[in-house]
Assembly symmetry: C2
Homo-oligomer: 451 residues x 2
């Protein structure tokens, strides 16, 4: 069940008669239809009327209409204008390119541009490694998509994917100080995507693949890692895995459980789920049960592709078969990257005590947070990352390291750092600082939503 | 002859004995070997020594060494460190990507990123035109190069071209408020360049081709104009032409000459020269003489390619043959986009009175500015744009207009606006404002160097 959130926030400008009860009447009308008021301002005050801006969270376009209709129906009240705050934020785009150097006078120009710049070009031509020192390369990441699997919206194409890639670039800068640039490719052909990324690579210190549909994404990532001399990182796989494993380590510390004795259920075995399982295995969990749309993954199921075969061989020590509900019985941890509303409070009750629930399906989770909370007072501590799950927002791992490519052990280290709060703060390198910052963000957010 | 300029500016930290004459001794030593001091600071003052930072312009690496050697040779003076200010400016690159929206809390994130952003994506998917309203597209230009003809440095490749493209992006923002991003392609194949630009196009409102070698640049520009629904502009051709024609209109107003009665010599008939001639022809000049390495272009020369044939047919009304020096006799205007040191004061003397000289070869001009100035007091007004010629820095014309492509009449209008100072200031659209700003820059610079 969706709840009103800031992703659908509207500001309604209304005129009302100048009565003492106006504020109460208006806010009550919004509350009656389920709108959550976040701000209330008097804009104009006249003898015959008062003008208010009422800002509130809604669930959907229909719900927003219900709210404005509810206000309009009040006696003497007139809705003047409704602004959608999310659209206002996006007007003209969310990022910009700015100069880091002064360009005040001819001398500045002569150094930043011709003729001075020619010596920089010659230095790089003579010693290509200098590009990392004398250009934006060392701190710049390409956020590459073909628009084929954008959020939960599916194949909406490169132009419609741009707002997400801009947002990701803004997050990269805000939380990691990394300059990221959206590259939305007007093709969904594997070979063309690989070649295009190769061609644009000279400007970048790293490639962050984003929202590219499986299984194409696996081949593109693997081939680019072979071809390029900079790190290539598929956010939806490794970004998600790093954040989830880091958050799980934090959560297990809170409930004082040892991961090597925990049974972990991972629901959804696509790009994200497979990467989570593989990273989790380095923590030696008691057991992992992978569950997909056909139930628990086990070697005898007969419908496994090579990815699932590999996962079947390394999980499910007891060779269990059955549904997600069967898998949850006695489980310590649920990690969902699958589909909405797959289980409820009854299934949480069958989990082990102090159970941890990460229901991460986007935008609607595998279990309603309200349902999951029902067992909070019965010894369970179901948790979920806040939806929308900005947690897996590529903030981990994708740093322009001098390393040729990010390897599994980097991901393990990142997840480890994320699970250690801030113990290792001193003397960290840039990569370390990035995950520190991402972790700070992650732990702050987790704490706020602690159930 | 090169002169010390800010493109080669060094800061020398020296220790000297604490005498009253130290400042004079040091600055004189720099001046003796031709260094031009631009700043002199006392950094530390001790009983036994004083430390100075001497900032000065040099001509070359050897000249910089002469200067430091000259200082080091003074009694009691020790050079501690020499910093190259141009390299300092470039450390870490010259541009960055910054967020235009606040990301302070969960509500901000929910609007700028998931879940709010999903509605923006859906709006664009439903109505692709909304990309201009809701993303960076409307104000963003790709600065595309293959690194094959960078400045006067030739084919130095995409990585070494990046400092120039970063600089261009910084200029775009500073002087026109346009967000520009460097795209340095790791190929010099015409088909691959065209395809790569097509693939990255969804993010951009315009394509600015830059420093791509002729004749490849002509085909790439023409084909991309056919394929893309955004303007494609080759800076080296049209940017140069717009600025030169605009500056010429200004200059002719100063000497009170009518262009329809002027004889104009254009030396160099490559990408820039051809575009200058074609734009100039819309001003109906008295006559144009095109001159290339083989002399004046005329139809009977027998060595003309299709571009030169077309130019021969539409210039040189008197069918003159001969050298550049022959062409200059009786000419009102010289525009050079060719090679260094082609003529001297003697040839300027053969030009018409109030002659205008734009010697734009980069980095060394067709005539030494000192030579050109010799006739200033004899009724001639030789002018040149300051070298380095940042004038033609793509500031004109390349705006993400809703128009499908920039057409010749846009270039004419741009050049016209540049030639009108600020008469049409009020009510200008974004394109107009861009050329206004570029013109402001251009006239300010021209005035400063007025001879």
């Amino acid at each position: 069940m969706p709840v009103p959130g800031p992703g659908y926030s509207i500001t309604i400008r209304v005129e009302a008669p100048p009565s003492a009860s106006a504020a109460g009447d208006l806010t009550s009308a919004v509350g009656r239809v389920g709108g959550v008021i976040t701000a209330f301002d008097v804009v104009e005050s006249h003898v015959d009327r008062v003008v208010f801006d009422i800002t509130c969270n809604a669930m959907s376009a229909n719900h927003a209409k219900d709210i404005t209709d509810g206000l309009d129906a009040l006696p003497g009240v007139r809705v003047r204008k409704v602004s959608d705050r999310t659209f206002l934020v996006h007007l003209g785009g969310k990022i910009e390119v700015t100069s880091k150097v002064a360009l005040r006078n001819r001398d500045d120009l002569s150094r930043a541009y011709t003729p001075g710049v020619a010596r920089i070009c010659q230095a790089i031509a003579a010693n290509p490694e200098d590009a990392r020192r004398l250009t934006i390369k060392r701190n710049t990441v390409a956020v590459v998509t073909d628009g084929s699997a954008v959020l939960g919206l599916g194949n909406i194409g490169p132009a419609a994917a741009l707002p997400v890639m801009e947002g990701k670039a803004a997050l990269f800068k805000k939380f990691a100080g990394v300059d990221a640039w959206p590259v939305c490719l007007d093709t969904q052909d594997t070979e063309e995507i690989i070649r295009a990324v190769e061609l644009i690579a000279p400007v970048y210190g790293g490639i962050n693949l984003e929202d590219i549909a499986a299984p194409r994404c696996f081949e593109i990532e693997a081939r680019l890692r072979e071809k390029l001399d900079i790190p290539v990182f598929h956010d939806d796989q490794h970004g998600t895995a790093i954040v989830v494993v880091g958050a799980l380590r934090n959560a297990l510390r809170v409930v004082a459980k040892d991961i090597t004795k925990c049974k972990v259920v991972v629901c959804g075995v696509g790009a994200a789920g497979s990467a989570i399982i593989r990273l989790l295995q380095h923590q030696n969990p008691g057991d992992i049960l992978a569950v997909d749309i056909h139930g628990i993954v086990h070697p005898d199921r007969g419908d496994l592709d090579s990815n699932l075969e590999q996962i079947a061989a390394s999980t499910n020590a007891e060779r269990k078969a059955g549904t997600l509900h069967d898998a949850l019985v006695g489980a310590d941890v649920f990690i969902g990257v699958s589909a909405p509303n797959l289980f409820g409070a009854a299934q949480v009750a069958t989990m082990n005590s102090d159970a941890i629930v990460f229901a991460l399906a986007n935008p609607d989770p595998e279990i309603d947070p309200v349902e999951a909370q029902q067992h909070r007072h019965r010894g369970h501590r179901p948790q979920r990352l806040p939806e929308p799950d900005q947690q897996r927002a590529g903030l981990a791992g994708c740093v322009p390291r001098p390393a040729r490519r990010p390897r599994q052990h980097h991901h393990r280290r990142d997840a480890g750092v994320r699970g250690q709060r801030h113990r290792r703060r001193g003397g960290a390198g840039p990569a370390q600082r990035l995950v520190h910052r991402a972790e700070l963000f992650s732990t702050t957010r987790c704490r706020r939503r602690w159930l």
